[in-house]
């Protein structure tokens, strides 16, 4: 969501480097500049090349990172958890069933309050086996306690990864951060972006200085002990508090990142929403398509707009309610299904956020297993919204009946 600030002149502290990279290489480049202490990863399409690229950096001696080759994603997360608890700055990456395989450890990373950064190259969860983009993987981890930032394009994937380190390591937060990018659509597609000079990234993220860490003989600690019913609840409540502190930190980091790069980031992006009567809500690369459709319809005189969610966890309640207030109809696009629920995950959260406010809304499940979401598929939804039609409650956009 690199929006241009039209009113004031962009003040860039640092000259960016204009380049062309695909999503995987963009994140790998960010990781190279972050130069984590430990990375442990296991290959899975479409993440594989991200870590291949990073492994090249390791073997070329371009980073100091200790790269641990593990036998599964569960081991990858276990490894970075232990390294992080030991006092290392850590990162990893995965997709779909890889994320699913590390499921128990993902929860543990968050509950141990470890500032791990993980790129999730969104891919559909099996079965049937499908290697293409949908959000079922990261949506499946929405209760895990990780902060989740969705990227619209390669620039955002790069920028979010760098900001993630600062967000995660902030003493008021100390939660792991998941940066998502759409599988194949972003990961394997070359886009133009601006990267930062190495020194600028190094200075932006600073040193990792944990207050408590295992490799400190002067102050021994135990990490991950047993809790009984008399204490588990208090630890979880504490974790809730950390997540509540995150939005302020995410905003602060974004403000500093903007001073560095001129690129502006918020929890959500409002595209042509000022005088919009209807809108769609989308996450990830679909926002690019949605913006093009909004532009087309606006040229036809239609009062339409788009809201893109960058921050999904924690859920930006106030911003979302504010953005949707006064609209005649809204379609929330979910690139994942929640079987048995009354709509897609994002739709349900927005419904809860609105809490009684009457805004006609429909849940659009789309793009499962990488099914293409085209302008042609967006159009009928916008037409329905403009006609005030939000029935049925859930629709499946792009499926063959």
């Amino acid at each position: 969501m690199a929006t241009k600030t039209k009113a004031k002149k962009k003040i860039k502290e640092v000259e960016g480097i204009r380049t062309a990279l695909n999503g995987n290489d963009s994140v790998a480049e960010a990781l190279r500049q972050i130069d984590p202490d430990v990375v442990a990863a296991y290959p899975i399409t479409p993440q594989t090349e991200l870590m291949h690229k990073f492994a090249d950096f390791v073997s070329n001696g371009q980073v100091i990172t200790k790269f641990v080759l593990v036998e599964s994603e569960h081991s990858a997360m276990s490894c970075v958890i232990r390294a992080s608890a030991a006092g290392c700055r850590c990162a990893t990456a995965t997709s779909a069933n890889g994320l699913a395989l590390m499921w128990e450890m993902v929860y543990i990373a968050a509950s141990l309050r470890l500032p791990i950064v993980m790129a999730v190259v969104n891919r559909a969860l099996s079965g049937p086996i499908n290697i293409h983009c949908d959000h079922s993987d990261s949506m499946g981890a929405r209760d895990s306690g990780w902060i989740q930032l969705f990227s619209e394009n390669c620039q955002e994937a790069y920028d979010n990864t760098i900001q993630a380190v600062r967000i995660a390591e902030n003493p008021n937060v100390l939660l792991p951060v998941m940066v998502t990018l759409d599988g194949f659509i972003l990961s394997h597609t070359t886009e133009v972006l601006e990267t930062l000079p190495d020194e600028a990234v190094k200075e932006f993220i600073g040193e990792y200085e944990p207050d408590y860490y295992l490799l400190n003989p002067d102050h021994p600690i135990t990490v991950g002990p047993l809790d009984l019913p008399d204490y588990y609840f208090e630890h979880k409540r504490q974790q809730v508090e950390a997540m509540e502190a995150a939005p302020a930190v995410i905003t602060e980091v974004a403000a500093q990142f903007e001073q560095l790069t001129g690129r502006h980031y918020e929890f959500i992006e409002r595209y042509r929403m000022d005088d919009a009567k209807v809108a769609v809500v989308v996450l990830g690369s679909t926002a690019g398509t949605a913006k093009a459709v909004v532009d087309m319809l606006r040229d036809e005189g239609e009062p339409v707009g788009m809201i893109k969610m960058r921050m999904f966890r924690p859920f930006p309640v106030d911003e979302m309610v504010d953005a949707l207030s006064g609209l005649d109809a809204v379609a929330v696009f979910d690139k994942s299904a929640s079987f048995g629920a009354m709509g897609g995950p994002v739709y349900l959260e927005i419904l809860a956020a609105l809490r009684g406010k009457e805004i006609p809304m429909t849940s659009c499940i789309y793009g499962l297993g990488g099914r293409d979401m085209t302008p042609g598929l967006f159009r009928p939804v916008f037409e329905d919204l403009l006609a005030g039609n939000v029935e049925p409650r859930v629709r499946y956009v792009g499926v063959r009946e």
């Binding site: 141990l112 408590y212 002990p225 008399d230 208090e234 630890h235 504490q238």
Partner: protein
């Protein structure tokens, strides 16, 4: 049981920041049977001390002086292993059975 901390006071992420903190936990509150130590019958063989899983047999100058009832869980292994005749440790029901 010692006073329990609220969520604002527990160390972050459940980590234990003080070494040896297990000693603060009153596992003795889990007991239903309590060991009764009879010093007269005790032959000071220290078998109870060897077998106790909780290090709850108190020793002074190499002799048994009693039980650490703060930590003793009332497993009865000490009474079971005591070779003295008559036996120096018996187990007594500490709580009333539930109705």
């Amino acid at each position: 049981m010692s006073k329990l901390k609220g969520w604002k006071d527990v160390p972050r992420g459940g980590m234990i920041v003080k070494a040896g903190s297990a000693e603060d936990y009153e596992t003795g509150s889990w007991r239903t049977f309590k060991p009764l130590y009879n010093e007269e019958n005790c032959i000071q063989c220290l078998r109870c001390w060897i077998y106790c899983p909780d290090s709850a047999i108190l020793i002074e100058d190499g002799k048994v002086v009693g039980m650490d009832l703060v930590h003793c869980k009332g497993c009865g292994i000490c009474a079971h292993e005591c070779p003295a005749k008559p036996v120096a440790i018996t187990m007594e029901r500490e709580t009333e059975p539930a109705e």
